[in-house]
């Protein structure tokens, strides 16, 4: 079983040289720490920045320079700044190669829910609906089950949707799963020490794992 950094580390292996990448809040943000040496990527922050760098040194924080999580950040050489309309223009026109975001639920046909729990506080969708509606390559980073122990990989989402039929890959603390075009989760890799049976047990949607699945190699 992986911790949050482990999930981020596994997702980082999906990043290719030359990618423009949008990282969501939470586990996706951690992916930036595990981008392999020799791979050049440009991180987009949807509040209007390409070329996001690490957090500033103490005392060098700039209130005018934040990421989409409202954290103080830095720019890297070659970065650029633009307004919010252009930011979503490059998302909609598929200039961003990879989007990594968190989710509350994912369904076996690739629907995603991550913005609202009816009856509880509604924080809003931010840029998530724009991202999932347009991105060509989306990876969901999330826990396999929720705090109540219920599977988050479902036949059908129960929460209000963020996007429909848009997710193709999910990485959890237990597994890497692809969502098949005809529907269903296909087990691609298991986290170290996790059995196929256990993954079946905590996956409520259809799981295809007949040919087994290798353990992840993280390093």
């Amino acid at each position: 079983m992986l911790d949050k950094n482990g999930i981020a580390k596994r997702i980082a292996k999906e990043i290719r040289d030359g990618y423009y990448v949008n990282l969501g809040i939470g586990i996706p943000t951690l992916v930036a720490n595990f981008i392999p040496d020799g791979i050049n990527v440009v991180l987009q922050s949807e509040n209007g920045l390409l070329g996001m760098g690490p957090f500033p040194f103490e005392g060098e924080e700039d209130a005018d320079l934040i990421n989409a999580g409202k954290q103080t950040i830095t720019t890297l050489p070659g970065s650029s700044i633009f307004d919010s309309a252009m930011s979503f223009g490059m998302i909609r026109s598929q200039k961003i190669d990879l989007t990594i975001l968190g989710a509350m639920e994912v369904s076996e046909n690739g629907d995603i829910a991550n913005w609202k729990i009816p009856g509880k506080m509604v924080k809003g969708m931010g840029g998530a609906m724009d991202l999932v509606a347009s991105a060509k390559n989306i990876i969901v980073a999330m826990q396999h089950v929720n705090k109540a122990g219920e599977s988050k990989l479902l036949p059908k989402c129960s929460l209000p949707l963020t996007g429909v039929n848009c997710i193709r890959k999910v990485v959890t603390e237990l597994a890497v799963l692809d969502i098949l075009p005809e529907g269903g989760f296909k087990l691609i890799e298991r986290a170290p020490g996790v059995s196929v049976d256990y993954i079946k047990q905590v996956t409520a949607g259809r799981l295809f794992a007949d040919d087994g699945a290798p353990e992840m190699i993280l390093d």
Partner: protein, 233 residues
């Protein structure tokens, strides 16, 4: 050159009335029109509709207007981090329309470009699509979303000149340029107001034609919402 300069925030917002629809630039607390918000709180106008990506925090930004119950409706993409907001929302005092962030930005842009509507895939198949016209282009569904119609746009720029030309700094640009283009009356507050002719025309982000009033702001707090740093070594 047409002089757009007014003395300060109070004069700039003089004709904002109860029931007005406002756009407020900024992302989180970054690049928000601090001086205009302070003046609106002082003036006490009520039943405002505010179009803004976020709703501030409890004691800063639009949160100050929420505390005084000046806001009837918020149109935003993300409204976390504000307990008073949550309270008013759950008690029904505050109306909230949540829309995707790109849709919000592009509806501003459409207004500034003189286009009545846009088509976006964001929200197709979700509750955001309810009651909206769907058109299919090249095999993909898009929602028709209307350009915003705002009485006033309140924006914050880094530098501006007496002709209303604006330059933004770093990620405090965010929604400010598209909102500046979208207001029937656009009010810009700037950290540094200079004479027309001082700014290089090639560096202007928002041409003065979109700006009706401009003033030199004062006492910027520029509060940081999430101060994140890394160790030196």
């Amino acid at each position: 050159m047409i002089n757009k300069v007014v003395a300060g925030a109070d004069e700039a917002i003089r004709d904002i009335k109860d029931g007005s629809t406002l756009m407020l630039g900024g992302f989180g607390l970054c690049g928000i029109p601090e001086n205009c918000i302070t003046a609106l709180v002082k003036k006490g106008v009520k039943r405002l509709t505010c179009i803004s990506n976020n709703a501030g925090v409890d004691d800063f930004g639009i949160g100050l207007m929420l505390q005084q119950r000046q806001v009837k409706k918020m149109i935003s993409s993300y409204v976390g981090e504000n307990a008073e907001f949550e309270r008013q929302l759950l008690s029904g005092e505050l109306e909230v329309e949540l829309i995707p962030q790109g849709t919000l930005a592009t509806r501003c842009m459409a207004a500034g470009y003189g286009m009545p509507a846009i088509f976006t895939p964001a929200g197709v198949g979700t509750e955001v699509a309810e009651g909206k016209e769907i058109r299919n282009f090249n095999g993909k569904d898009y929602l028709m979303e209307y350009a915003f119609d705002a009485d006033f746009a309140l924006v914050k720029a880094w530098k501006g000149d007496t002709a209303g030309n604006l330059i933004f700094r770093s990620t405090s640009r965010n929604f400010n340029p598209v909102m500046a283009m979208a207001g029937k009356i656009t009010i810009a507050e700037v950290e540094e107001l200079v004479e027309a002719g001082t700014l290089d025309p090639d560096h202007v982000h928002t041409p003065g034609v979109y700006v009706h009033r401009i003033f030199q702001g004062a006492n910027y707090e520029k509060r940081i919402e999430q101060r994140t740093v890394r160790p030196r070594n």
